[in-house]
């Protein structure tokens, strides 16, 4: 197991280290050790170093015509982490994932995935990575079981291995007893979990998730993130793109990509402290649209935007403006029911701040 990135699942409690993660027993392991998911044997031809980051990217660039979709980005993803790749639609997230999975050739730059140059040798990496997109990639006219069987065939899983994995996936996705149901009859949350199961049927060491929660209701999103934590707990590195900023807080590490460039990276806490030089006020008001227009033009307010059901107003860190001042001004402007609170900046606030600095 020396070249293997992940040791066999061990019964003792693992020490947590991002460099050398060990699989944690999932809930399924406690019920039946026979069904304990196993990590894939490394292919003997291409021994990979245990050490080193899961992903290392230097100067990665992709242009479509004259448009630089990804413009010389650098980042590193340590093993066993949940790495959040955030950015608005069209900022280069999917293009980056495609280059990292070996389906798109970069114009220039280096992309090392699990210690292998994925640009030159995508085939050496493909068995060891998984991919799940917002489309879920399931065949809707096939049953749950048939979908799993198909992907097991794609990854050439031995029969006993498939039996184990199938068992695990069915319990993970809460689909026990529904194996013969057509996938199209499953609701979105179930389909999403089945897609995750199908994408991890070959026990990848690194899983790419491209907007996996897009179009899924908040409850299912929450459950889905629980499953992602579980995967991470077993030592799988997760590379997640999302434009839901609230999901960013779930990640160990974040990188913001905007117009093809990474404009900030770090842990959620780091981002909130290091990059944030603004104070944030949360404003609840009935006529939010009008209040937003007012706030944008208010002196002392750098930025105002919708945030969930309320409005956020950002002011400079040294601004003398207080929550009460702001409330008085709003009431003065005719927004009598305005409630203003100074809040801790969220990841979204950080992102809005960063983007406004880019302009």
């Amino acid at each position: 197991m020396s070249e293997h990135p992940f040791p066999e699942p061990s019964p003792q409690f693992p020490e947590h280290s991002p460099q050398f993660p060990e699989p944690v027993e999932g809930p399924e392991a406690s019920t039946s050790s026979a069904n304990l998911p196993q990590f894939p044997e490394p292919s003997p031809q291409f021994p990979e170093p245990v050490e080193g980051p899961a992903i290392k990217v230097t100067g990665l660039t992709k242009t479509f015509g004259t448009f630089a979709a990804v413009d010389g980005i650098d980042f590193e993803v340590p093993r066993g982490q949940i790495f959040g790749f955030l950015g608005p639609n069209g900022s280069g997230k999917t293009t980056t994932i495609r280059m990292l999975t070996g389906t798109l050739r970069p114009k220039s730059g280096l992309a090392e995935v699990l210690g292998t140059d994925v640009v030159r040798h995508p085939e050496r990496v493909q068995r060891r990575i998984g991919y799940m997109s917002q489309k879920f990639s399931l065949f809707e006219d096939m049953t749950v079981d048939e979908n799993l069987k198909f992907y097991a065939g794609v990854y050439d899983l031995p029969a006993e291995k498939f039996a184990q994995q199938r068992d695990y996936v069915l319990r993970m996705a809460d689909l026990v007893g529904r194996e013969d149901e057509l996938t199209r009859n499953l609701s979105v949350g179930w389909r999403q979990r089945l897609a995750l199961g199908a994408a991890t049927i070959h026990e990848p060491e690194l899983l790419f998730l491209d907007e996996p929660t897009s179009g899924v209701d908040p409850v299912a999103r929450r459950q889905f993130w629980d499953l992602l934590y579980e995967l991470a707990g077993r030592g799988v590195t997760l590379f997640v793109t999302t434009h839901y900023m609230d999901e960013a807080a779930h990640c160990n590490q974040l990188a913001f990509i905007y117009r093809g460039r990474i404009i900030a990276e770090g842990s959620p806490t780091e981002l909130r402290t290091k990059y944030m030089d603004q104070r944030i006020f949360d404003i609840t008001v009935s006529s939010a649209d009008l209040a937003l227009d007012y706030l944008v033009s208010t002196e002392g307010v750098d930025e105002a935007y919708l945030s969930g059901a309320s409005l956020h107003a950002a002011t400079a860190a040294h601004s003398p403006l207080s929550a009460d001042d702001l409330r008085q001004r709003l009431i003065g402007a005719g927004f009598a029911d305005a409630v203003v609170l100074e809040v801790e900046p969220t990841i979204e606030d950080v992102f809005v701040n960063l983007v406004s600095r880019q302009r």
Binding site: T103, D141, M142, L182, A199
Partner: protein
């Protein structure tokens, strides 16, 4: 290698599942060829027989009645009405109740009895040029024969022996299809067109569907090779196309009496190559089409119409404009029509058909390779 076979097997298995779940497609694939064969074979007939014929006999003598009987006796004309005036011909042609009118002038019997050349008028509805042309040829032939027999009987009645006179008697024989039954001629060609329709149409949508589902991306990330995916998708359709081929052949032989004069081996090889070429064409369409609807229309434009019109099935290839003749060379159906007709009707074998077989083989190879390349490029762009 083993892993590769597993992956191809997984795709093939999956494709069969799609097909079995999709009753409409399954029915289309199995029943359509049968329906198309019956429909085309019965509807598209270039044979002309039992042409409704109207007779206007102004003479009304035994001689004229005998002459009319000659029309009735031939299987080509069918006397459906007797009229009194020429106006009735117009009415009958307009109403499509008759296509040919035979007008015997008064004095017909007398003229013949006098040993002179009698004249009759044969009017032909020219709105259908094909049957008009044939009707004309037949009526000329009929009159010549009648003329001869009259000459003979006149000579006999005069006690002359005409056998001493040297006469040139042409004996025209049609080979391969002696009855010139156009159904027999059509069915081997139809076989090719039907296979083209089923295969191209069905595979054209298959890759587009994968793209819409997002499974294309998923498979590109996996160890699945593009050619494995293509082969896995082609295998079930090859089998189905072969079932269709066998069905069409058996139906053609049993119902329409098409003879199979050549070796089935050449036919099987030709069909296999043609199926691959058509499937490859379907995949090619699928690899470039942005949506299932576009793929369907492209399949119709590329597979159906040229196979039908430019394969020699409907029009002989040497009778279409030269540019279209060259154009027809890029559609595989024309080679298959030649092979099929050759094997069925002429009993041709490898010796005669190798150029077509070779062309189809090359075609199939190029199609699958180009489809595999384009498919990847589209997905990677």
């Amino acid at each position: 290698m083993k892993a590769s076979l597993t992956r191809i097997g997984a795709v093939t298995n999956k494709e069969f599942k799609h097909l079995l779940r999709d009753v409409r497609t399954l029915a289309a694939v199995v029943l359509l060829p049968v329906i198309q064969l019956l429909l085309f074979a019965y509807a598209i007939s270039f044979d002309v027989d039992n042409v409704p014929t109207m007779v206007i006999d102004y003479d009304k003598t035994p001689a004229s009645s005998e002459y009319v009987r000659a029309y009735d006796a031939s299987s080509f004309f069918k006397v459906v009405a007797h009229g009194d005036t020429l106006n009735q011909v117009d009415t009958a042609f307009d109403a499509n109740t008759a296509r040919v009118a035979v007008v015997i002038p008064a004095g017909f019997g007398e003229t013949i009895a006098a040993g002179d050349k009698a004249q009759v008028a044969v009017l032909i509805d020219g709105s259908e040029p094909n049957s008009a042309k044939i009707s004309q040829a037949y009526s000329v032939a009929l009159n010549q024969l009648y003329d001869q027999s009259m000459t003979k009987s006149w000579a006999a009645s005069q006690g002359l022996d005409l056998s001493g006179i040297g006469a040139l008697e042409p004996r025209v024989r049609t080979w391969y299809n002696p009855e010139r039954n156009s159904t027999i001629f059509l069915i081997p060609g139809l076989m090719a067109v039907i296979i083209a329709i089923v295969t191209v149409q069905q595979t054209a949508v298959t890759l587009v569907r994968e793209r819409a589902l997002g499974t294309e991306e998923q498979l590109l990330v996996s160890p699945m090779r593009r050619t494995e995916l293509m082969v896995g998708k082609l295998l079930p359709w090859t089998l189905i196309a072969f079932i269709d081929v066998v069905m069409v052949i058996l139906l053609g032989m049993a119902v329409f009496g098409v003879p199979l004069r050549g070796t089935p081996l050449v036919l099987a090889l030709g069909s296999a190559l043609f199926v691959f070429a058509s499937l490859g064409m379907g995949l090619l369409i699928s690899a470039v089409a942005p949506s299932a609807e576009t793929a369907n229309i492209m399949a119709l434009m590329i597979a159906f119409l040229p196979s039908f019109l430019l394969s020699g099935l409907a029009f002989p290839l040497d009778q279409i404009p030269v540019v279209l003749q060259w154009f027809s060379g890029i559609f595989p159906a024309r080679y298959m029509v030649t092979i099929s007709r050759g094997v069925f009707l002429k009993g041709s074998g490898f010796a005669e058909l190798w150029p077509e077989l070779l062309t189809l083989a090359g075609y199939a190879l190029v199609m699958v390779l180009v489809a595999a390349r384009l498919y990847g490029r589209k997905a990677r762009a």
